[in-house]
């Protein structure tokens, strides 16, 4: 009898260890896959979407936004789309976001992954607050930058004259013509992609990218001295002293004795 309980215990421990082992192996493959798909950075989300990191946590992949979209803009990622599976996205060159004033895709979201408050001003839905991405222009392939007259993107923009404007410049090559160059204003652009859809070049010269991809960052150590609000940041500024191994000694010493530099 006693012998049997001992072997039962062994069996139990062995089974648990086996379970843990298989779980660890499965977890490794599983996490590697998930890590891979969530790293696809070129995904354009519906209006009002949370930050990508929070969006992936919160989206339940129900497709209600996709069904609400009257233009069939939104798609749910299928296996093979190389996007986080089941999450909504859109391809502006195929069907852009037409920026419906009543934004049907956002209020239907059951989880708040599409956040109504982020597209609301003064208690009313406001699609111009949407921030799906930012249009960028490749001035090498944009024919307007060559001097050929084209304002397709400018005309297509639903925030005409605000998100894209055209600047005039002298064409030095001909000496008598003007460039009419489109410029995107990052603070206004919603990333709807109507410009990308309208672009006449073979592969669009203006295209929407998620902001994390299309924007740089100056860093908060640069302050615009001409901007009163920005300059206020100086009031909270405090000194940061950095001391490296070399600067710990006096300057001369560090020149004479390069220490462990070489």
């Amino acid at each position: 009898m006693k012998k049997e309980t001992a072997s039962d215990r062994r069996k139990f421990i062995l089974n648990m260890a086996r379970g843990a082992g298989i779980t660890a192996l499965g977890g490794f493959v599983w996490s590697a896959y998930v890590d891979e798909v969530i790293a696809s950075p070129l995904t354009l989300r519906p209006p009002g979407a949370l930050k990508e990191e929070d969006f992936l946590k919160t989206c339940i992949k129900c497709g209600l936004c996709v069904e609400a979209c009257p233009y069939d803009t939104l798609l749910l990622a299928k296996p093979g789309d190389h996007k986080p599976l089941g999450t909504p996205y859109f391809i502006p060159r195929d069907i852009p976001c037409y920026m419906c004033p009543d934004i049907p895709c956002v209020p239907v979201c059951p989880t708040g992954a599409l956040d109504e408050s982020s597209v609301t001003t003064n208690g009313e839905l406001d699609i111009t607050e949407a921030d799906m991405g930012l249009a960028v222009i490749d001035d090498n392939s944009c024919i307007a930058f060559w001097g050929i007259q084209c304002d397709a993107c400018y005309r297509a923009c639903p925030l005409l004259g605000e998100a894209i404007s055209v600047i005039y410049e002298k064409n030095e090559r001909t000496g008598k013509h003007a460039f009419l160059k489109p410029i995107v204003h990052a603070d206004v652009c919603t990333g709807c992609g109507l410009c990308e859809k309208a672009c006449v070049t073979e592969k669009p010269a203006i295209f929407v990218l998620p902001r994390e991809v299309s924007e740089g960052k100056a860093g908060n150590y640069y302050i615009k001295g001409w901007d009163k609000d920005d300059e206020k940041r100086l009031e909270q500024a405090h000194e940061i002293k950095t001391q490296t191994k070399l600067s710990k000694e006096s300057a001369i010493d560090s020149l004479n004795d390069s220490g462990d530099l070489y």
């Binding site: 599983w30 996490s31 998930v34 946590k57 339940i60 069904e67 789309d81 599976l85 089941g86 708040g112």
Partner: protein, 275 residues
């Protein structure tokens, strides 16, 4: 004809609800019906009632998401519903993968695969490990881990919104169930089944065995996808209390001796005490 109906009546109703739900969801996306919109992860019934997958909500919680009210209400409704009609009733009456794995199990019986390889190489408790793992991964990676690989949502979304390469996953599950492991996906691996097994531990609607009618033909054990839950067959009159029972009712309809029937948990218990 009567016998055919008797032997397949629940199967017919199950396929009817499974396919009917798919048609409603499909119609919502394709033709703008508003009866049932969304998909099995989360839906909207008649444009008013939110319904959400409580297991997905649990993963979101583990991932650190802020749970919206609609989602909580939806998950609560669904949990209550399955507490009432049997936890894994989802598996056999709603889940579209069930059609795939039932087909594999049928073919497996027809081909006599189990006669050739008797040993089952894996434990049915694996699903609870997978369940735990999904929550750990959700927590560690900040995403709903199972929702990213779930073949259930893949197939279901696939039918409503476009399948893509999802058919490959279905094929893998079919072949796994057919050749590698009997009831491999639904009975061993699927963490959603594991989750509903836990819900089912306390749910109300049960299959009840009447030992005095049993002729020990064991047809019920052959068709049962979770045959371990039928351990009392021919031994004792007991309700099937294991949460792993999917309430698919195949055992009830294949039984020619009326030794199995549906009953409500509490009544079943009282009856037992009364005897």
């Amino acid at each position: 004809m009567q016998k055919l109906w008797n032997n397949y009546r629940y199967l017919f109703f199950r396929r009817f609800t499974q396919i009917g739900l798919l048609v409603l969801y499909f119609g919502a996306n394709a033709w703008g019906w508003t009866i049932l919109m969304g998909n099995l992860s989360s839906s909207l019934l008649l444009n008013v009632v939110p319904l959400s997958d409580p297991y997905a909500a649990l993963q979101m919680l583990a991932a650190g998401a802020v749970l919206a009210t609609d989602l909580l209400i939806g998950a609560f409704i669904i949990t209550m519903f399955y507490l009432l009609i049997g936890g894994r009733a989802f598996c056999s009456w709603v889940c579209p993968i069930n059609i795939v794995t039932d087909a594999a199990a049928l073919l497996r019986r027809k081909l006599g695969v189990d006669k050739i390889s008797k040993r089952q190489p894996a434990s049915r408790n694996m699903r609870y490990w997978v369940l735990a793992l999904s929550l750990i991964l959700s927590f560690a990676m900040g995403v709903t881990a199972f929702e990213f690989i779930s073949p259930i949502s893949m197939l279901h979304r696939g039918i409503v919104f476009g399948l893509g390469f999802g058919w490959a996953a279905m094929l893998i599950i079919f072949l796994l169930d057919l050749f590698v492991l009997k009831n491999g996906w639904c009975g061993h691996i699927c963490p959603l089944g594991g989750f509903y097994s836990l819900v089912g531990k306390v749910s109300l609607v049960r299959v009840h065995h009447l030992e005095e009618n049993c002729t020990l033909c064991m047809k019920c054990k052959v068709v049962c996808p979770e045959s371990q839950v039928l351990h009392m067959i021919g031994k004792e009159s007991l309700p099937v209390i294991s949460g792993e029972c999917t309430n698919c009712a195949r055992c009830i309809e294949v039984c020619d001796d009326e030794a199995l029937e549906f009953s409500i948990r509490k009544l079943a218990k009282n009856k037992n005490i009364g005897e």
